[in-house]
């Protein structure tokens, strides 16, 4: 096993243990036990999920069948919610209810659109869908509604008001569907959304750059390790690019340097102190979820020491 980051082949994912453990502790204090239903799509690692379960969060949200199967195989399947209408436990239409019943699913949540133009039924038809699900022999555990459009709002008062409006829609739907669960929220509203019975957050473990602008008590704990392979007068090039990190939230950042652009296999940047070929450089990716999904392992580091390596064993679909 790698002893330090200098033993790692690059590009490689580094998780800052101190920051990561701070994030998990902060969240489990704010939302103990079942108040948090961690979303494993963000981190795609059963080893990481086991840490969350050790802290009391034993119900999980999954985005894919592969994640559900992997979590169950790892003994973490006590209460899994598949929040994607593919085969599915979260349903928002007659077709997905029929598919759930046909696929042998027993319990569903009615997915309600609370403002983000993505999945979810109109709030006013949630009751009728719940009736239909019960007639199809399914147990309706309650509702789910993700206020994803609220997450980018940097003003906290604005976030609170938008969350309130969204959750009024979800509570109205819930009064028509019944069931114990009101599942909603994310890292950006984890301490604002007091209407939901459980919060689905995942990227709080590492924190996206956009979330870091919200004044949340979590720390950015993920970096991509790269090796400098070319140095010119004005710039340097390292071996991590579009295949190793997500740029849909903007380019990665490097302390003490300005990133110019990413290519398929490279990042071109200008450093205050020019590096030498062979030097290591650490990039902070803007968007956690699709960055982790490009890798096979998370290396846990304390400074430059690698203390553990967790497989990203929930990849694919």
């Amino acid at each position: 096993m790698a002893q330090t980051i200098h033993d790692l082949q690059t590009p490689a994912l580094l998780v800052d243990v101190a920051g990561f453990e701070h994030n998990l502790a902060t969240m489990s204090e704010a939302l103990p036990g079942r108040r948090l239903r961690p979303h494993v799509k963000a981190t795609k690692s059963t080893a990481l999920a086991r840490r969350q379960a050790e802290l009391g969060h034993t119900g999980f949200t999954c985005a894919t069948i592969t994640e559900v199967e992997g979590m169950a195989a790892a003994g973490l399947g006590e209460d899994l919610l598949l929040a994607n209408e593919r085969v599915t436990l979260a349903v928002d239409s007659e077709e997905t209810i029929a598919a759930a019943a046909k696929g042998g699913v027993r319990e569903v949540l009615i997915d309600v659109n609370v403002g983000l133009p993505r999945c979810g039924c109109a709030p006013e038809v949630a009751g009728a869908l719940a009736d239909r699900a019960r007639k199809a022999g399914l147990e309706v555990r309650g509702v789910m509604g993700y206020e994803g459009h609220v997450m980018p709002m940097q003003d906290r008062a604005e976030r609170i008001e938008a969350t309130r409006i969204s959750m009024e829609k979800l509570l109205a739907a819930h009064s028509d569907t019944g069931g114990d669960l009101i599942s909603a929220g994310g890292t950006g509203t984890y301490d604002i959304n007091t209407w939901a019975t459980e919060i689905q957050a995942g990227s709080y473990c590492m924190l996206d750059t956009d979330y870091a602008k919200l004044g949340l008590p979590f720390r950015q704990a993920l970096k991509v390790l790269a090796t400098v392979i070319s140095v010119s007068d004005a710039w340097a090039v390292a071996d991590a690019g579009l295949k190793a990190l997500a740029t849909d939230h903007g380019n990665p950042t490097i302390d003490g340097a300005k990133v110019w652009f990413c290519s398929d296999e490279h990042v071109t940047y200008a450093a205050e102190v020019p590096p030498r070929p062979g030097d290591r450089v650490q990039l902070r990716p803007g968007h956690i979820d699709p960055t982790i999904a490009r890798h096979l392992a998370l290396h846990l580091v304390e400074g430059e020491r690698v203390v553990d390596t967790w497989p990203v064993d929930l990849g694919g679909w």
Copy 2:
């Protein structure tokens, strides 16, 4: 094996066989045999590389050690160029020459910066680096210089002039280094760059959306298959997002629909004819290379019929 696209789990990559074979035939007629050194980083499949070798292109360009090892293991290692300064055959500094010699490499190309701010030495020091490489016991096969900054220029006359300026730099460097090879070019300059002895092109096989704007004779032959999982009044959602396709060249496109945005696992779009949950939808990704790198298989299709499946067996690093 899947009989039609309806048997495939989504998201899945589809390669239009007619378009793909047209692209390979067009290229091998324009640049027969060793005039083309296909870049396998674009397609990451030894099965696909074997088709290129059958058409006479038996020398390949690789971006990673994994690609070199995979190509050699597949019997396609007759003449592999590792065009990345990591361990490496393409070198642009004293450090990378030392690393090549230490790593047991025998032959190098001097990588020259011809205008793209990325890898490559200044043209005027190429000769000194070649001397140094020879002193280190390495054979210098020639020069490499990628005119990547030329590729986005939509005006052909502008592309020709910019390529000429770049290749003058490369030829000047070559006169100082010696060696048989002048390796350069890409899909966007495959028929313009007449200075290079071999062209490194890869994405011509499937064609990026940006390249499609250049009036090249190649066709876009790659799609991402997705399943509609949610339908609302104004939009629909399918199960392929940022983890399944690259958006750094813009959102994917869908015939007869307008794509609104991509999320981690989803694409939200408005279709002229609203779909039903369970329908299949095909997305054309803007950028080929990092899209293929997110998948494990390429499904070759004729219409809706799946005629073959090739593993993306050169993934990772």
